[in-house]
């Protein structure tokens, strides 16, 4: 794609730390010594890991400290090379990254339930810090195969206490009891979950009994065109209106379309309610909503324009708008 696709930053690996079996934590600083742009909990960065590979990693440092960014990376044996390349990085290595971007923002609420599966703990860490600072009621349930595979588990337990941080290691107590954890919805409680697809699917099914919009998830996804570069600008042709709109990387389709005066019925504007569902006439979307089923997402006939975008490598979507 073109060079206009999101500014990149030159960074250097400051420290490398093994934080659990197969998990490294990298602290990154800018080579020019400048602070990073402010970011919010849930944000990630693109890391250009070489050979044209771009991978996204959630930030697990504090948004209060902008002199560095920290990411945690699980080495996935069958991965397409991203985590392997990251695991090969040494302190002092230079690499190209993006500014922090956020597809998993923390909405303000009175209570939170955080559910992490394995390396899915990373985006939740700044969220817990923010919830704690704001004096919100919150709990973390953190599941993993065993304690030694669970990055930051001890650190979180020490910092927040075992009443707020529940470590559920499978080799000690079995898997997460999701029926028990999610069987009793609480008023004004949002659920933020990040982890493997199977776990998130099971959480989604149970949260169908919660108020609509209570659940927010982040999947480690790769669309068929490859993960990573989906924050490129792209074009949307509005078939009914007869105009074409460019969607820049910092705007949603909904925002871009509304700016040219075309109305789209929407409600939550966060991929939660399904009101803005729009027919796709051509092009491949990258779905980022929590409404469409996996079958719907596969079929690619409709998308939620408040959050979803064109898939990487798809420069143009034609929508029934």
């Amino acid at each position: 794609m073109t060079a206009s696709a999101g500014a990149t930053i030159e960074a250097v690996v400051d420290t490398v730390e093994i934080v659990a079996d197969q998990v490294v934590s990298l602290v990154l600083r800018r080579t020019d010594g400048q602070p990073f742009q402010p970011w919010q909990p849930g944000a990630h960065i693109d890391v250009h890991v070489g050979d044209g590979l771009v991978r996204q990693y959630s930030l697990c440092s504090s948004p209060e400290e902008l002199d560095h960014l920290r990411i945690g990376v699980l080495h996935v044996p069958d991965s397409r090379g991203g985590s392997k390349a990251v695991h090969a990085l040494l302190a002092g290595t230079r690499l190209t990254i993006s500014e922090p971007r956020n597809n998993f923002p923390l909405r303000d609420s009175r209570r939170y339930l955080f559910i992490a599966g394995g390396i899915g703990i990373t985006p939740l860490m700044p969220m817990m810090e923010a919830a704690d600072r704001a004096g919100r009621e919150w709990t973390l349930i953190y599941g993993g195969r065993s304690r030694k595979t669970m990055a930051f588990a001890q650190q979180l337990e020490d910092r927040y206490g075992a009443d707020r941080v529940r470590i559920v290691a499978e080799d000690e107590v079995g898997r997460l009891d999701l029926d028990g954890i999610l069987g009793m919805p609480r008023a004004h409680m949002l659920v933020y979950a990040c982890g493997p697809g199977g776990m998130l699917g099971a959480i989604e099914e149970r949260c169908m009994g919660w108020p609509p919009g209570a659940l927010h998830t982040e999947r480690f996804v790769a669309s068929s065109l490859g993960a990573g570069a989906a924050n490129e600008p792209f074009e949307v042709e509005l078939a009914r209106t007869g105009t074409t709109v460019t969607v820049p990387n910092d705007k949603t389709i909904l925002e871009a379309v509304e700016e040219v005066g075309v109305r789209v019925l929407s409600s939550c504007r966060g991929g939660l309610c399904g009101t803005c569902e729009t027919q796709i006439i051509s092009g491949e979307p990258e779905h980022r909503d929590a409404v469409l089923t996996e079958e719907d997402k596969e079929a690619g006939e409709v998308m939620l324009v408040c959050v979803s975008r064109a898939a990487a490598g798809c420069p143009r979507l034609v929508l029934d708008l």
Binding site: R186, H188, G209, G274
Partner: protein, 399 residues
């Protein structure tokens, strides 16, 4: 929430008095003027009329519980007229039932209904477009949902005539046991028995929502009784409300010819018109919740056990939320955030189906009718909690 509390203003007006049911809006304005939360002597309950406060009651399902029933009596103390529905339950009982319903009725399953739902709308509107006048309620609004919705649930043809009278019972029971309630319950046992029969698995076909709900019994999520109650909930909540939604939308559009003309030019706006009409003329106007623990709402102390009467219809016209023209239909307004379908945990599960039906009917009518105007005064229906019309005569110009 405000830290200081004040005594609730006490109102002598009765929201269930005939005049206030036939034309609720002067009363609702008076209610809002009395305060976001006030006390109604006539019913012994607290009235919640401000948008923000209604939203709070709907979203704080721990403080304002549903297991006390949606009517004026606390059915935890004094059992109701039927086994409690999903609407009359709290977590965790509510949770599994809601999971079962949401798994069955969601954007994907509802999208598939557009195809079977469209031809009956074409047929009905083609017939009506050949006449110069018709009754938008009896000739259209009442006909269409009864044509398509029972098929979507998968019930037999036999016994469908009981759906409307049963829905009338269910919703009127959210108000007091007045003469309207008694009329609705006149042949109550017969209607209830007929509807319950259609909720049994053996009486449902294999393709509808009903059978899909029963599938969840097989996988252990819900009990047979819960499956029956969920099918009952669909049948009782899915017909009247949509009829009123279609009727109310047309009642508004008949009064706003310029809006009709704009919709004809740009039929894409039909969804917005329906949403704004639902805000302005909300079919489900009010229902009760029960206060579970002492709390403060809108500065008023509410004791545990008290009943609050939630005025959705007042919230949807609250000028503090919608501005000074809250009582007007404005096609350019974003009605997003209205509470006509409720909000939060108990938010209408059938909402996408209702929206689909309303949109299809309106789209098909727009194609065939160039102009629509009132042809005499509409006759509002006398109902404890629903707002709608018995008759809405209109005159049309065919397209």
């Amino acid at each position: 929430m405000t830290a200081t509390t004040h005594e609730a203003n006490v109102l002598g007006d009765d929201p269930f008095e005939t005049a206030n049911l036939l034309d609720p809006y002067p009363f609702l304005a008076k209610l809002r003027d009395a305060g976001a939360v006030s006390y109604l002597e006539a019913t012994g309950s607290y009235a919640v009329a401000g948008y923000e406060e209604v939203y709070e009651v709907l979203t704080d399902f721990e403080t304002y519980i549903s297991s006390g029933g949606l009517g004026p009596r606390d059915i935890r103390q004094d059992s109701g007229w039927r086994p409690p529905s999903i609407l009359e339950s709290d977590p965790p009982i509510h949770t599994v039932m809601r999971r079962a319903l949401t798994g069955v009725i969601n954007p994907g399953t509802v999208r598939a209904l557009r195809e079977p739902f469209t031809p009956p709308a074409i047929e009905l509107t083609e017939q009506l477009a050949q006449r110069d006048r018709f009754d938008a309620i009896t000739d259209l609004a009442e006909k269409y949902p009864l044509r398509v919705f029972p098929d979507a649930v998968g019930i037999p043809d036999e016994g469908r005539e009981h759906l409307l009278p049963y829905g009338n019972m269910v919703f009127n029971a959210f108000g007091p046991e007045n003469y309207i309630f008694k009329q609705a319950f006149a042949h109550g046992d017969e209607h209830a028995a007929a509807v319950m029969r259609n909720c049994e698995r053996e009486n449902l076909n294999d393709t509808g929502f009903g059978a899909r709900i029963w599938d969840r019994v097989a996988d252990g999520l819900i009990t047979e009784q819960q499956a029956t109650l969920l099918v009952r909930a669909l049948l009782s909540a899915g017909v009247d409300t949509t009829i009123f939604g279609i009727g109310n939308t047309l009642s508004v559009l008949a009064r706003y010819p310029e809006a009709w003309a704009r919709l004809r030019e740009n039929p894409k706006l039909a969804k917005f018109a329906v949403d704004e009409a639902l805000r302005l003329e909300s079919p489900f106007q009010k229902f009760h919740r029960t206060v579970a623990v002492d709390t403060v709402l809108g500065g008023v102390h509410l004791p545990a056990g008290a009943k609050v009467l939630v005025f959705v219809g007042a919230a949807n016209r609250d000028p503090r939320k919608w501005g000074d023209n809250a009582d007007d239909f404005d096609l350019d307004r974003s009605a997003s955030g209205h509470v006509a379908f409720g909000m939060g945990l108990h938010q209408c599960v059938g909402q996408p189906i209702a929206r689909l039906e309303m949109e299809i009917v309106l789209q098909e009518l727009l194609q065939r009718v160039a102009a629509i105007e009132p042809d005499g005064a509409p006759v509002p229906i006398l109902h404890n909690v629903l707002r709608g019309f018995e008759s809405l005569p209109v005159r049309i110009t065919p397209a």
